[in-house]
Symmetry: C2
Subunit: 525 residues, 2 copies
């Protein structure tokens, strides 16, 4: 297995010689219907990845398969799940998939079977959550807890928050919403104050989540919250728990109700499958629901082992994205879920993708001569249609689109209004958008002219269940992983976040001059 | 006054001949401090717009002033506020600023003084809100209302929602949170179901907001909500109000508690200052707070009349943005408010900007040969620092950044932890980021190397009050307006949203074939 720069591969040259497909023509008429039938790949849990509206044809797909083979994508994935040091910068294994299932060999590190370690933490969390739900762990007055509040930022916030919101209403409809969850992330004191103003502190468990145990925002907010707990006349040790690594300053603190562990092999933005997501989601929905989420992700992880891109939706998605990025020059990707429950899923993927592949040096620290990770943004449909879709349809730049949709909504309430249900209206809209973007519309009035030729893919599932959500998360995580392999990046460190932290510390220590001092003065710091 | 394509102007040629400034050098050392002091423009309400970290110098600024003059930006603004038909596509005036104050001549249309019309609606809303707050308008059981729920999408949702969230905690801290507000927007039935599951329907007023009175999502959700009101044993006519235009099918319906009006001269994405924002915000915070918001916006609108770009922050911001877009090739702009209260403000600006200037034809319907509106995205700091900032610092594309920060937080709660308050930590971080992006950092380890040279601006205010929020909104609205003038676009229509709606209707009517029918089949519609 060799790690090579993308532009040194034969497949790179080959791809540069191929022209993109005219989607407007390809998707028109009955040929379009055939294309929809053919250009789709089954995902786990009855979902499907459709790339019919992408600018590819059989010849391009063959070249992408050639790229997958030459870049040894499945071999690199195997190296990762078998426990090689894939995060070369920080000299760490990359094991988030191992939280969901074992894809290869036992991974033993420092004498510990890591799969057993992650499962043990899941079991400890399940036991804790069960006791909380059954009223065996209670507050200082012997009363049950009703709310769980996660204190964390970045990976300890965006993923768990997006997942909670994705399943909150599903759980409500299915009678498994055990506790409401809230989130405190920002160092802005108004974030904590606002949550605390609307939470019943006496019946709340606050989970402090920081792998290193040194995150400025989280430690600050922990102190902030502890203070509020005391002011409410409660005992912090009856209201706080921790998720951290075993070596962190937060670990084993007897003043917490309990502590649950992850390790250095779980990157922050990939930590939703670990105790970071596990604690809050198991408390909110019950450990069974979290286990179903993990099962969904594990099934998708297994699909990602296929060397055949037509059986590996994450790899195919990754390859098409790379083609769009490096050969068609598109700098962004919009994530557009047609499901209000996924309202914060794009924000999570924004982190997962941009923090992983927003790099300019390869895994050996050498500058690369090609563009890497795109900017990711998105909002749920149909809301986005009434907002930024104008630019997507008629703007001067093309933005590839990644739709997600479901046949069935999560809650049991829907109405037939003017001949169709709301869910049908929602689904009709996403189907319509794919075609509007692909084929456009001629019009004598150039203001009403749609050029089309704007590529999109869509993932379609039956319903946004815990399994489907796990599959979705794993799909995008694995897509980002494969793209990082192709670009020859280390997708698992984030050195780009360090400089700002360092300078902020200097400002607070009054160790600055020049423009930084001048800005600090305007802020009266 | 002449409307010309950007690339036909002398200033376009001139700008193309100038090289951008090396920000890394310009912002270094004591020269950087001087630059911070000089390169800032006062805004209203004690705020300031700093462009010290932008890639401009005096020569470039002179060229931008030349562009402003040659493109007749202030003349075009005057034409707009004096009531010319600026929205040429739809043959409409553009009067959202007139909701906040009168900048020029009386605007009389169809015999109506439009300023008087907008003020009359504000007064009607103030009276209605006062009666609700005082318990003079009550539910069927003679009880006071506690919650207001806005039913609207796009401009009827994103702006009002962002503004509500921006002031919710300020109002809580200042004792003016009269009613909590919630929002239903998506046609996804789970959106309405989720809100209804957590709202006390018997004490809620639902405001149906649609200018045309024909918006699919909003009418569907109205029926959905009415059904829920009846199921709760309540009388819909005691729980619903409307905001619409006087000619819409929703107008004057006796089954509403009341109806408030806007008109065709208020574009959806610019409607927060009209009854669309006025009703929900006056009910939530009291009409006095909404009036303060309008005053803040009016003050900023007045500043935008200055022909001197050093006295016109919105125009200067617009000009620098155009320079970055058309001459430096940057395709995106990130909006990064260091205030959790502004969490949805970027989503609103995403609509305001991308729906206005995401166009490929000029105001005469002729294709333009230059790029227009950028993609807008953003999240609050410090959250974004732990997410997508990695790509912003070290990715292969440069994204111009638009920071916002305040000296003081909104709520009265803050703690000194390790020598600084949370607010100080927040401010220190945004100051640090500007410098990290501008100047970067050398490092032997290329993985820890920051190239710098990444331009940003920042708006700094004392506190996010109603006036400051109004000023912020007006700043960005006017920035988008000036950019539309420079690009010679009609920024006030949105033909790009029509095709998708049309095709969705066909799907629901089963009038489709080919690929669209194939997708509809997968969705089982």
């Amino acid at each position: 297995m060799v790690w090579k720069n993308f532009d040194s591969l034969d497949a790179y040259k080959k791809l540069g010689e191929l022209a993109p497909v005219d989607v407007k023509t390809a998707m028109a008429g009955e040929n379009g219907a055939k294309r929809v039938a053919e250009y789709q790949v089954p995902m786990s849990n009855g979902m499907v990845y459709s790339y019919a509206a992408k600018q590819v044809d059989d010849e391009l797909l063959a070249a992408l398969q050639g790229l997958a083979d030459e870049a040894e994508l499945t071999e690199k994935y195997a190296a990762l799940y078998n426990g090689e040091v894939i995060n070369t910068g920080e000299k760490r294994l990359v094991l988030h998939q191992l939280c969901r299932g074992q894809l290869g060999n036992d991974v033993i590190k420092d004498g510990v079977n890591k799969r057993e370690f992650y499962v043990a933490q899941q079991n400890r969390i399940a036991e804790f959550a069960g006791k909380v739900h059954r009223g065996e762990i209670v507050n200082e007055n012997g009363e049950k807890y009703t709310t769980v509040v996660q204190i964390g930022i970045g990976g300890s916030d965006l993923g768990p928050r997006a997942l909670y919101l994705s399943l909150e209403n599903w759980a409500r409809a299915n009678g498994t919403l055990k506790m409401e969850a809230r989130f405190i992330s920002n160092v802005d004191p108004d974030d904590a104050s606002a949550v605390l103003a609307t939470v019943d502190i006496a019946h709340a468990i606050f989970i402090v989540v920081s792998k290193s145990g040194t995150t400025l925002e989280t430690l600050t907010n922990e102190t902030f919250v502890k203070n509020a707990i005391k002011e409410a006349g409660c005992d912090p040790s009856k209201h706080m728990a921790a998720v951290t690594s075993e070596t962190s300053p937060l670990a084993g603190n007897p003043e917490y109700l309990d502590s649950f562990y992850m390790d250095d092999y779980i990157g922050g933005r990939y930590s939703s499958s670990s105790a970071v997501g596990g604690a809050v989601l198991s408390l909110a929905f019950g450990p069974e629901v979290f286990a179903r989420f993990l099962d969904g992700a594990a099934a998708e992880d297994a699909l990602a082992k296929n060397a055949d891109i037509k059986k590996n939706p994450a790899m195919l998605d990754a390859l098409i994205g790379v083609y769009e990025r490096n050969f068609l020059g598109y700098g962004m990707t919009a994530i557009l879920p047609y499901s209000q429950a996924l309202s914060r899923f794009p924000a999570h993927l924004q982190q997962a993708d941009m923090e992983s592949n927003g790099k300019s040096v390869n895994r050996y620290g050498e500058p690369v001569n090609y563009v890497t990770g795109p900017v990711i943004f998105g909002e749920p449909g149909t809301n986005g249609q009434h907002s930024f879709y104008q630019l997507l349809h008629q703007g001067t730049n093309i933005v590839p689109l990644q739709f997600v949709g479901f046949r069935k909504n999560q809650m049991n309430n829907d109405l037939d209004i003017q001949g169709s249900t709301s869910q049908q209206k929602l689904s009709a809209n996403v189907a319509a958008q794919i075609m509007a973007f692909a084929c456009g519309k001629d019009d004598e009035n150039s203001n009403k002219y749609f050029a089309g030729e704007r590529p999109s893919s869509i993932i379609i599932g039956k319903q946004l269940t815990p399994e489907a959500l796990g599959a979705l998360l794993a799909h995008f995580e694995n897509k980002v992983m494969f793209q990082g392999f192709i670009w020859n990046l280390n997708s698992f460190d984030q050195e780009g976040v360090q400089l700002g932290k360092l300078l902020a510390k200097r400002v607070l220590a009054h160790e600055t001059d020049g423009a930084l001092r001048a800005f600090a003065d305007i802020f009266e710091i």
